[in-house]
Symmetry: C2
Subunit: 428 residues, 2 copies
């Protein structure tokens, strides 16, 4: 048997503890599969005295993750601290410079500094693996980088933030408004310390930036993603969408178009009967489309101790087995700086508006849409007791820019109380 | 850039031609991703003159696959001929003995001779990869062997024969009997030359044997699988199952129980609303459950030129990148000879019988079940015009052996026309 693979683990939250638990429980299994013993030389976290439910006395303790990353008895630096900058970045850089491989669950770090880190890893002949950074326990990074490597990827899309999906499905199933479910999720500990990371779509955006880089051989471009969170999704929209056979999901889409790379993370309507539409709670789903494979769909738990630790240790097993890939599947220098295509590909849209209950009001709305070249697929006006009528319109395919002009013009007519809600409809 | 990776391809059916097409179309992409040019030194097939729709003049032709496998200018032998013995086996062995890596789509070969081939590969320091052998374009071998390597797998299940799933969904959607849809599928070219391989569950069984070996570190044991084909699934059963919220699928299940390895490939009822229940046509789905990851579901095309070629070339890319794993994820010598657990874990069952329309008939059936300790979850008797009444029973969990005793006793009562149909119900 080859020499043991020695880990240094920085960050002992849920995932770090999960990694230690699996390493202890499955020591023999991991050795059988990788041909090496996997050991933990040292660990590091913010608070040494915190009770984490497992004994830590078997491992050296370091207060400084950078010192941990540089230790002679560490082969792989496992970064589970999080944060795009600060200690996580400093320690990852130190590890690579010291000739260690890195395994991380840190999506923000990769999305923001992936290019520089990829170059750094290549300069040291080391690898950065990050299966746990995207879609929890689902081995999607591996599927995209390796299993589907012979494909020219055409589109990747998915639901990649379990907290948002929990909130949206809970709103629908319990008929509760956003604010109330948000408070519930917070009380359950489902939200990040800064909840905007979740509900604002930032966290899911980080994941999308990583998938884009691999799928299209592009430099990670988080700032190029059009991001819209779920904060403004109302229970009314969820109900109306359901009424027309749709469900609302925070959906990430990345695709290469003739004009460049289109990356979006936004609440969308998807058919309720589609795989994405049926996704409940904290489950994640990623759909990969390629010229050869057509479509592969991967589904699994998006977070949690076991699933995320499974992904971290899958990466560790790869390294133990000698697999070292360029960070985004091809050499960093070959990653392209793709132009950003504003989200211009036409799609059908769902519109909801509060229409004045006056003769001619509907005609004005309809003619604004007609003037903008937008045709109506379906329309519903609901019964109402006040002086505005809830009106839903599903358009045929149109561009977002044409739609935005029409929505502005609609406001000018004076027959809609506020600017209509507009949500893209995505068909699988 | 490293030296080119030179392939020898044996078998130029749909998949072989697909591999050549992708290699030509995506030459630059594959080189960017693997760091090497991937070239084809020589090819081989049964009939040199057959028109395959692409030019083959750029490659040397060999009539003998064994000679192809041994060529000095071949680094990887790509076996796409099929068949568990004969030329496929001889050429694969020759390739390994000559120090070549092997990529194959041949599930029968691996299921029947996997252990010996794995040992042979290890003796030569070479690898056998076979992503295309299971579930077409879905990178499930990679997910199980690598991505989920840190898991103690608890169960793997799935729909792995697209032809059977096509037949079953077509029967349901068109309301057609088995024989008619079978003839349709045959006319469409969906069936193997020996259709028993498909509809008899043999092909899917080969795939299950491979998944079992990886999941449980066991020697492949195809003969240990309890296999039942779809030939006796009737349109009546499909309709009645649908009526109670189920769909019938040819479902493979492998799990390790206290008594050994339980492997089954048989028509089962699954909830119509479950991911497996919703699988249409030729699509495949594999569900992997592990102690850490909980449950991961993979879905994609189970066959076809593009998807299968995608899987073959994914393996080629792995080899180009230097990844060489033991065939079933751990050294062949460490694979265990697990005892066969007869399919004894209790499950609910669907029973359909033609009951004599006489006073006391139902009481007799019910008391036979009661005497066997089998309790009834749901029962329906349908209106009928002749003198036997269609009766459906869904039992609570029971063992197959208790059920078989009860079914035999039921026949003895003289109130059922023939032995009742019994199908296992599998909940995800």
């Amino acid at each position: 048997m080859a020499a043991p693979l020695r880990l240094g683990i920085a960050g002992l939250g849920t995932v770090g503890v999960g990694v230690l638990r699996i390493l202890r429980r499955q020591q023999a299994l991991l050795a059988a599969r990788t041909g090496r013993e996997i050991s933990v030389s040292a660990i590091c976290a913010r608070d040494r005295r915190k009770d984490r439910g497992i004994s830590l006395t078997a491992h050296d303790w370091e207060d400084d993750p950078v010192a941990l990353a540089r230790r002679d008895d560490v082969d792989v630096f496992v970064e589970l601290m999080g944060g795009s900058d600060g200690p996580a970045k400093a320690a990852t850089e130190a590890a690579l410079d010291a000739g260690k491989d890195v395994v991380t669950a840190n999506k923000a770090l990769l999305a923001m500094h992936g290019q520089a880190l990829a170059e750094r890893a290549e300069n040291s002949g080391r690898t950065i693996r990050y299966e746990a950074a995207v879609a929890g326990g689902i081995p999607v990074i591996k599927a995209l980088t390796e299993g589907l490597a012979a494909n020219e990827v055409t589109r990747v899309m998915g639901v990649m933030n379990g907290t948002c999906n929990y909130i949206l499905t809970r709103m629908e199933n319990a008929g509760l408004p956003y604010d109330e479910v948000f408070r519930e999720a917070d009380a359950l500990g489902y939200l990040e310390a800064d909840p905007t990371l979740d509900v604002g779509g930032i966290d899911a955006g980080h994941k999308l930036a990583i998938l884009s880089a691999i799928a299209f051989g592009a430099r990670p471009d988080f700032d190029g993603i059009e991001i819209e969170g779920i904060e403004r999704v109302s229970i009314d929209d969820i109900r109306h969408a359901a009424d027309m056979g749709y469900r609302i999901k925070l959906l990430g889409v990345t695709q290469r178009t003739g004009r460049g790379l289109e990356q979006r993370m936004q609440p969308c309507l998807v058919p309720a009967s589609s795989p994405l539409g049926q996704l409940e709670g904290g489950t994640n789903m990623v759909v990969i489309e390629g010229d050869a494979v057509e479509q592969v769909v991967l589904r699994g738990p998006g977070a949690g101790e076991g699933p995320t630790a499974s992904a971290v240790l899958g990466d560790v097993c790869d390294i133990a087995r000698g697999l070292r890939l360029p960070t985004f599947g091809q050499p960093a220098a070959s990653l392209q700086d793709l132009p950003r295509a504003s989200t211009g590909l036409p799609a059908p849209y769902y519109l909801r508006m509060a229409l004045d209950d006056k003769p001619g009001a509907m005609a004005k709305v309809a003619s604004v849409l007609g003037d903008a070249g937008i045709s109506i697929d379906r329309m519903r006006q609901y019964a109402h007791s006040d002086d505005t009528a809830p009106v839903l319109i599903v358009t045929h395919k149109t561009t977002r820019s044409a739609l935005d002009l029409a929505l502005a013009a609609m406001e000018q007519t004076g027959v809609v109380a506020t600017r209509p809600v507009a949500l893209r409809i995505e068909h699988l």
